[in-house]
Symmetry: C3
Subunit: 264 residues, 3 copies
C-alpha cells in the first residue's frame, strides 16, 4: 500500500504565491465546451491563458508560453494534429505540459489519441478514477465524462501509471491523489456541487499547468493546486444556492483566496 | 382549429422525476456559442452532457448515449458531416433525437442542411415561430435567430409540420406549443428576460432530448420539459437584476426545482 | 501632440439610444473562447448577435447583417478564409466592420493574417496598447493577449495608424482613446477587475460594431460605446466580489444602464 501524506497548508501558500508572482502564460489546447471557464479560472488564480490552435502558430507558441495544457474532451482530426505537434514541441523544448485524458476508455478512436499523447511524455496526467484506472489497464473507462469510481479505488492505478510513464499522475474525486509513483500527496475537502458545473475538472488540469510552470517542485505544486481548488470549492459552495451561483462564487473564491489563508 | 390542453403539473413532476432517476447521457452536436450553457443546463436538470464531434467517434457514441441533440446554429461543412452521420445512426439504432433548426429561412445553404436533417426523421423539431412557419412552408423565416412572430401564429404550422414529418414539433415563445399533429399541449409562464441570455433556447432543445430519452411518452415528456423550463425562468427572473444574474439564477432554479413543486 | 477631448455624456446617451432603437444585427466571426460572452454583451446592450461561419453562408450573411465584427483571437486556416471573405464582402457592400487584432506582434503567422485583413479596410481597428503600437510599427507586440503598455503610450501610434489606414483606431486601457487621425476622443473610468474576465475586450470590439452600425457618425459612436462600457464596468465592480460575480454584474449593468444615465 502506498503511503499518502496531506499536502501541508504552507506548501499551498508557497506555490500559490509563485503563481501570483510569476503569472505564468499557459498555452491551452482544450475542448470546445470549457474554453471560457478555463481562461477565467487561470485569470482568477493569477495566471495568463492563451488559446492558440492555428496550424501556423500553435507549435511556435510553445516557445513563448511557460506551460502547455492539452485536453481531449472534444477531439477532431484537425485539432488532434495541433495537440500532437504542440506536445512534441513542449517535450523538445523542455516546457512542462499536462494531459487531461477526458473520457478515456469510452471510445476507441479517442483512446488511440490519448495513448499517443501519453507516449509524448506529459509531466502530469490528470483524470478521474475511471480514466486513470483505464489508462493503467484496469476497468473499462467511464460513461462519457462521468466517473463511476471513487478516487480511492484508483490510487494504486495512479501509482502504477506514474511509474510506467515517469509522470506525475493526479486522480481527482472526493479526495484528490497526486503521485509520482514514489511520493503520494492527498488533498481533501471541496464540495460535490462543483461536479454540476461543466469545465471545473478540465480547468483544474489547466491550472495545474500554471502551478507546475512556476517551480521545479512539480509534484508539490500540483498537489498545492488541488488543495487550493478544494478550498475555493468549499468557499463557493457556502456562498451559493446552486450550480449557477456556484460558478461565479468559485471564480471569486479563486481570486480572493490568499496564500496566507492556507498558512493557518 | 387545434384543441390545446395544458400539460398538467403532475406530468411535469413525473417526467422530471424520470430524468433525475435515469440521468440520461445526451450526445450534443450543437453550435459553437452555446456549448457551455447547454452542458450546464443538462447538469443542473439532472442529465449528463457529452459533446462528441470527432470524425472517428461521433457515430459510435450514438450507440452509447441515451439521446442525441443536433443544433445547426453555427454549421460548417466538417461539422455538418458529423451531424448527418450521427442523425442517421440515431435513426438506425432507434435512439431518440431532436433537431433545433436555428435561423431556418434566413440562409439558403443552411436551409438545405436543415431539410436534409429533417428527412432523417428527428423525434422532435424545436424552433421559434419564424423557424417553424418557414419549415411548414409559411412565411419567410427570421432575421438571424430572433423570431419575428408570436408562437400563437405558428401553432397551425407546427401541427402541419408534425403531420408531414411524423415528428413532435415544439414551437416556443410566450406560450410553448408541443404537438404530434393530433394532440397538442401548451406550457405557459416564463419571463422575457430569458431571451436576453444566449443559448437558453438551444439548451431547451437539448434538455428536451433528455426528457424524451427517459420515457416512451415522448409528447408528454417534451411538454413537461417546456413547463419545467418556464417555471425555472420565472423563478430566475424573480431572483435576478438583469441577464447576467438571470443566467446564474436560471441554472440554480433548474437544479433546485423538485418534482413535488409541480404537484401543487 | 494630439488634442484629446472627452466624449460628452449627451453623445453616449444619443448613440446608446440609437442602438436600443435600431437593434442592429451583428455578424460575429470571433474567437472560440469568447463567443458566449460576446453574444450576451450584444443582447444586454440592445443589439442582436449572429455567429455565422459556414463556408456556404458567411459571405451571404454580410448582406443581411447591419455590421461585421472580426476577431483573430484563435485563428485557424479554415476560419481565416471565412474572415477574409466576410471582410471583402463587407467592403464591397459598404457594411461597417471592425477588426480586433488579438495578440498582434506575438506570432508571425497571425501577423500576416492581421495585416491582410487590415488592407481590406476595416472601419475600426480596436486593440490594446501593445497591439496598436506593433501595428503602427512601434514596439514588439504583447506576450499573448496581455498588454504590456499603458494606453497613453499608444496614443500617437493610434493616430498614425488611423491616418495610414483611413480607419478609426480605438486603443483601450485605463483610458480609452478613439481617433480617426484628426479628431481624438477619450473615455475614462472603468475598473481593472474587467481584465480578469476573458472576453471583455473582445466583446467591446463587437459592441463597437453595433454602435457604428447604427449611425453615420462612426467616430462619436465608437467613443460613446467605450464610455458606456466604462460606466458598466464601474457599476459592475461596485456590485461584485470578484471576477465571477463581476461577469454577471457587468451584463446586468449593460442591460440596466439607460441613455438618461449619461445625461447627468
Amino acid at each position: 500500500m502506498t503511503a499518502v501524506q496531506f499536502i501541508p497548508g504552507s506548501s499551498v501558500a508557497e506555490y500559490l504565491s509563485l503563481v501570483r508572482r510569476k503569472n505564468p502564460l499557459i498555452h491551452c489546447v482544450t475542448n470546445e465546451v470549457v474554453q471560457e471557464i478555463t481562461a477565467n479560472v487561470l485569470l482568477a488564480a493569477g495566471a495568463s491563458p492563451a488559446m492558440v490552435v492555428g496550424e501556423g502558430e500553435a507549435e511556435d507558441f510553445v516557445g513563448i508560453c511557460d506551460g502547455l495544457s492539452i485536453n481531449v474532451g472534444t477531439p477532431f482530426s484537425m485539432r488532434v494534429q495541433i495537440m500532437k505537434a504542440a506536445a512534441r514541441k513542449a517535450r523538445e523544448l523542455g516546457k512542462p505540459w499536462i494531459l487531461d485524458p477526458v473520457a478515456a476508455g469510452a471510445l476507441v478512436w479517442r483512446d488511440k489519441i490519448i495513448f499517443e499523447l501519453m507516449r509524448t511524455g506529459p509531466d502530469v496526467i490528470r483524470g478521474n478514477a475511471s480514466e486513470i484506472k483505464f489508462l493503467a489497464g484496469q476497468g473499462s473507462g467511464g460513461k462519457g465524462v462521468d466517473s463511476m469510481d471513487s478516487s480511492d479505488s484508483a490510487l494504486q492505478a495512479a501509482v502504477e501509471l506514474a511509474e510506467h510513464y515517469s509522470s506525475i499522475v493526479v486522480v481527482t474525486g472526493r479526495t484528490d491523489y497526486i503521485t509520482d509513483g514514489t511520493t503520494t500527496y492527498s488533498a481533501e475537502g471541496g464540495n460535490p456541487l462543483i461536479t454540476k458545473v461543466v469545465g471545473t475538472g478540465c480547468s483544474l488540469s489547466t491550472l495545474i499547468a500554471a502551478f507546475i510552470s512556476s517551480t521545479d517542485s512539480k509534484l508539490e505544486a500540483a498537489a498545492a493546486c488541488c488543495a487550493y481548488v478544494k478550498k475555493a470549492s468549499e468557499k463557493a459552495a457556502s456562498d451559493s444556492k446552486g450550480p449557477g451561483s456556484f460558478h461565479a462564487a468559485y471564480l471569486d473564491a479563486l481570486y480572493n483566496l490568499k496564500p496566507e489563508d492556507f498558512n493557518a
